[in-house]
Amino acid sequence: MNNVIKLKWVIIVVAFCLLHLLIFTRVFYNGGPDVGGYYKYAVEMGHGQVAYRDFLVEYPPGALVVFYLPYLVSNNLQGYETAFTFEMLLFDVIGLLLVLGLGKKAGISPWTSLTGYTLAMVAIGSIAVQRFDMVPAVITLGAVYAFSRGNYKTAWAILAIGTMTKLFPGVLAPLFLISQWRRGGLRSVIPSVATFIVVTLLIVAPLLALNRAGFISSFTIQSQRPLQLESTYSSLLLLGNSLGIIKAQPIQASISYDIASSLAGPLARYSFIFMGLGLLAVYSFYYRNCRNLAHSPAGAAPVALALADLLNYSFAAIVVLLSTSKVFSPQFMIWLYPLFPLVSGRFRAAIWVIFLTASCLTWYIYPLHYYDLIDTRQVAVNALILRNILMIFMAVLLLGEKPASAVDKTPEAQLELNPASG
């Protein structure tokens, strides 16, 4: 009987993988200007040029591996685009399997995990195969998976790789740190953090040695960007503009469309403070929950509930990062995609509705009505405002969620978290 059930689930998972294959290859439009850019980097690397030294790159080094892999399959643009689509599909399927595994541990039904994952992918749309953000998003999920199994060093190593692919997975590091510290004390954290640092240095050091300035500029180019058109701050300025309170006008800048306004400069500068405060709030709430779990009278329950909290706060950290960042490109929604079906708690239904609506609105804004937004047409501007308000609302709901320890959970949500196995 057990084997029959297993076979049934194998068939279901394969069916979902085939559905993803169908959507990735037949429904989504691949290619686009960004993939063309990735191809250019790959061609230069293929001709023996060294990134950061021989040509400028605006991405961390891990991304270059992602760009180069499809080039090994095809060296013409059309073939590269197809190969890139399959590369994203590969990571998408890995993400699906990780979601299933994590969902099982967190007491989320496989149907919910699979359905949520697929719905999110459809809502995000073609941008999933037009950008490489799927890769760091799935790497982040891999780090959480390893962490949930108690393989802390592996988790930190994967997190370092993720951070070196796109910086955002780094926001999960304090959550890992707090969780591990509360579980096994400060000493248990040291080997894990050391692993993170060593892996990061292994990736960074050769590139620093080759061309320090070029490598550092790949990070500073992002941090020095002005207020991007789709950021929360920009949508506030556009709302003010539509109310006649302030003047704000989209402008074409070197990397993206940004917003020109008397308040744009100060908001861009202070966005780091807002981001810091927002993330600090997430970490503080998580710390409080971990402390409550540690003081919980139940035996196995705190360990079993730890994963639910970790998943919720990982999702919350990325939502806060997106909502407070001065750049909010449409592909950033992919960062949330693998973690989304794993969110649990009283507000799960609301989070699902909000995330799916926000994803559809993102797709509506880009690529469907981006020029309407640039022309500050009211409906397109309102779509952006609505999307960003929903993101903030989602962050508020996630932080307002009761700690997992306070919610009655079924005993099947057991974890294999080992205290400080290192």
Binding site: S242, Q378, V379, G400
Partner: protein
């Protein structure tokens, strides 16, 4: 004072304050004439107040020139006969507005309707769930961006059409829920008022007839059930009250149509020159253009969809034998099937119709303000709010609080955006001395030339 009485008083006070706040908001923010509807109805009110249901070419020329002076158009006035111009829209709202126009306070027309709509919503929701939900629902009903924006536009008929429909429909559902507890006279009066409201809504907007048809289907179904159950006398009386309530506005409409178009069966839309037809081929472009406008204009749209599917799921589960006793005190399981389907039918009649509307589907609407597209869906606001608020009654308290605050703020901000994002129209009076002082058969040439456009130096305007 007992705790219950105190709470009742508190919720009613909050609702009353909310209604006053909504009134103040619509009065404080300056009103601009936006679409041709506003202009056409302003001049129609002026003409009707002088007993002129139709006007001649000279008069409409003068009025059109005057509207043009302020960048307005009279697109809803069309040629219906030999030198005879009439309104393409249903006339009910103008007749309703006349008393307020006579006392020089046309903006009060919508405020009175808003108060009535909030009161009916309160009554209905109190019956369905309780005072707290009633308070929440009434406030969210008024603080929807589209409701506030159309409430402010004193001459446009959208709010009037939605308010009469909401009052009539709300009272009808209230009657269905508590007819057993009322005396036959009270029930009859309630039913009469409900059908008067529904009939008046058709007199204001012809398309509301589709929603009224849904109500009539419900009424026929319930009457047939009662008839078969042997309550034949009661059925006859309800039919009499219904017939009376519906006949008064509809007979009025037929008289108007006879007077204006020469036959009671001819109506204004038959003369319309604008792209106002309906076809399934417009569904796709409408979904593309209108969806975001609807999400912005009706923040409760998503909770309403969630509510409908939750209700359907819960009630379907209850049909299964093993689920008989489960959730017996749940709102959804207590909500009668016929009421749920009536609410859904009401929404479907409005959304199903306007999602196939030619005008909003045409490319000319890309980039125009959301209110221009979303206002057509206002007649479905009451059932949408009722379902959404019943759903919100089940969510955790923190979520309820967050959604309420967000919805209220949303309403105010986007109402302000809608009101302030139009070009400012020069101050003008709806009591226009030029057009109103015209003799019936004046050639009007000298008057026509005397209308000056402040934006031009030459001084004359062609229409």
């Amino acid at each position: 004072m007992s705790k219950d009485s105190y709470r009742t008083l508190l919720y009613r006070t909050i609702t009353a304050l909310g209604v006053v706040l909504a009134f103040l908001l619509t009065l404080i923010i300056p009103q601009h004439m936006r679409e041709s509807t506003d202009w056409s109805f302003q001049y129609a009110t002026q003409n009707f107040s002088q007993g002129r249901l139709t006007v001649d070419g000279i008069t409409i020329g003068l009025e059109g020139a005057e509207a043009y002076k302020y960048s307005g158009l009279l697109s809803q006035y069309v040629l219906i006969g030999d030198n005879l111009w009439g309104l393409t829209e249903a006339p009910g709202y103008i007749f309703y507005l006349l008393p307020f126009y006579y006392i020089h306070a046309p903006e009060l027309g919508n405020l009175v309707l808003a108060a009535g709509m909030a009161a009916v919503a309160y009554l209905l929701l109190k019956r369905l769930r309780g005072e707290k939900t009633a308070c929440l629902g009434s406030l969210l009903l008024l603080f929807t961006p589209v409701a506030l924006a159309m409430m402010q536009r004193g001459y446009a008929d959208s709010f009037g059409a939605a308010a009469f429909l909401s009052m009539g429909g709300g009272l009808y559902i209230y009657y269905c829920l508590c007819s057993q507890e009322l005396t036959s006279r009270s029930a009859g009066i309630l039913l009469f008022l409900a059908w008067i409201g529904l009939g008046c809504s058709v007199m204001i907007n012809y398309y509301n007839a589709l929603v009224v048809l849904v109500f009539m289907l419900h009424f026929v179904y319930m009457s047939a059930r009662s008839w078969l159950a042997g309550r034949r006398r009661a059925v006859v009386w309800t039919a009499v009250w219904t017939g009376l309530g519906l006949a008064i506005p509809l007979v009025g409409l037929l008289f108007y149509q006879n007077a204006v178009f020469g036959s009671p069966w001819r109506f204004g839309f038959q003369y319309a020159l604008l792209p106002v037809s309906f076809s399934l081929s417009f569904l796709r472009p409408n979904i593309k253009y209108v969806t975001v406008a609807l999400l912005v204009g009706f923040p409760l749209l998503t909770p309403c969809a969630a509510a409908f599917f939750t209700a359907l799921y819960r009630k379907t589960r209850l049909l299964m034998p093993r689920q008989e006793t489960e959730d017996i005190n749940d709102t959804w399981t207590k909500l009668r099937w016929d009421i749920l389907l009536l609410l859904a039918g009401w929404i479907a009649a409005v959304y199903g119709l306007y999602l196939n509307y030619e005008w909003t589907a045409s490319t000319q609407v890309v980039g125009i303000p959301f209110i221009v597209m979303a206002r057509y869906y206002l007649p479905a606001e009451l059932p949408l709010t009722v379902l959404a608020v019943l759903w919100l009654g089940h969510v955790p308290r923190k979520l309820l609080l967050a959604v309420t605050i967000l919805s209220l703020a949303w309403g105010v901000v986007f109402f302000a955006q809608s009101a302030l994002s139009y070009p400012v129209v020069l101050s003008h009076s709806p009591y226009n001395p030029l057009a109103s002082s015209l003799p019936e058969n004046s050639n009007g040439m000298s008057n026509m030339l005397s209308i000056e456009n402040p934006n031009t130096t030459t001084g004359s305007v062609r229409v």
